[in-house]
């Protein structure tokens, strides 16, 4: 499977995600944001970081870059797109994913391990996870508070477009285990066609038992399935 990782000034998780993909034998290419042509890709990853120093709004400037025009085209044609953390923010700013990511409810930058529950596994990104499986991921963000209008929120729930929700170690989903104030504890969403996933937690940080755990491996393995 061919993958492309888009790199912006200020991206800082691009190497981690490239390593995660290469471990699973993806043929990966790093693509600088000024490029106007995308290599042939089955998967495009928009990595975490602080593109353009989060100026204006997180992801707003990156969303207007040359390469994003190409990403939007291929995403609309069905190419798989994964946006992690700042990548999720960029995807909402392009309109590929609906909604917006606001400042965390407690106004603090959050850098810690959290638990998420795999809510919907019937999609290209999560099919290797068991339904309701509790996963330990890491978050590192200041704007992860997912917001959208009530109609879209209902649509996300009704159409099973929420693959991950924040929860506790046992899988209980409640306000206490909602680190950033996201509506309905949302940690990630899919578009209608389920070919685009945006998520705040970092699965690429959870691919090695020695330094963390390997709860993130199955996200990448799902893509190969």
């Amino acid at each position: 499977m061919n993958s492309s990782v888009i790199v912006f000034p200020g991206s800082n998780c691009d190497r981690d995600i490239a390593g995660a993909l290469e471990n699973l034998q993806f043929r990966n290419t790093m693509v600088w944001h000024k490029e106007t042509v995308l290599p042939k890709s089955d998967l495009i990853v928009i990595p975490g970081g602080f593109s353009y120093g989060d100026y204006l709004r997180s992801g707003a400037i990156a969303a207007k870059s040359n390469i994003l025009k190409e990403v939007i085209k291929v995403a609309n044609d069905g190419c798989l797109v994964l946006g992690i953390c700042n990548g999720f923010q960029i995807l909402t700013e392009t309109g590929l994913l609906k909604g917006a990511l606001l400042k965390n409810k407690n106004l603090k930058f959050l850098g810690k391990d959290i638990y998420v529950k795999a809510m919907n596994t019937d999609n290209k990104f999560c099919n290797k996870y068991k339904h309701a499986q509790v996963l330990k991921f890491n978050i590192a963000h200041n704007e992860g508070n997912y917001f959208t209008n009530p109609d879209h929120l209902k649509e996300l729930e009704d159409k099973n477009l929420i693959p991950f929700k924040y929860c506790d170690e046992k899988g209980n989903i409640n306000e206490e285990n909602n680190p950033n104030g996201s509506l309905n504890n949302i940690a990630g969403i899919l578009n209608d066609k389920k070919n685009i996933l945006g998520m705040m937690p970092h699965p690429e940080r959870m691919i090695d038992q020695i330094i963390s755990n390997n709860d993130g491996v199955n996200l990448f393995a799902s893509l190969l399935n």
Binding site: L56, R57, A60, K64, T92, E93, K98, G99, A100, L102, K103, N104, K105, N106, L107, N145, F147, T148, N149, G181
Partner: protein, 79 residues
């Protein structure tokens, strides 16, 4: 021609920053303070002689980049 753009969070969007500023002012003894919301302000200069054309260009700038219409409202004024 010069314009100002005022960007505010929509009414139903939580404004944690504004809330903290409000609480701080209240803690400082400003007990008449009822509510406070924080926003953004831009000043834009544009090479255009017609005010209506200039305004529509600025409106375009707002919709395409300066404002996220999902969470923010904006107001353009000539200065």
């Amino acid at each position: 021609m010069k314009f100002s753009i005022k960007v505010t969070l929509k009414k139903d969007v939580l404004d944690p920053q504004g809330k903290v500023v409000q609480q701080t002012l209240q803690n400082m003894g400003m007990d008449k303070l009822k509510s406070l919301r924080q926003g953004k302000y831009f000043e834009v200069e544009i090479n255009e002689n017609s005010e209506s054309k200039a305004k529509s260009k600025i409106d375009d700038m707002c919709k395409k980049l300066l404002v996220n219409l999902i969470i923010e409202d904006f107001e353009i004024s000539k200065i």
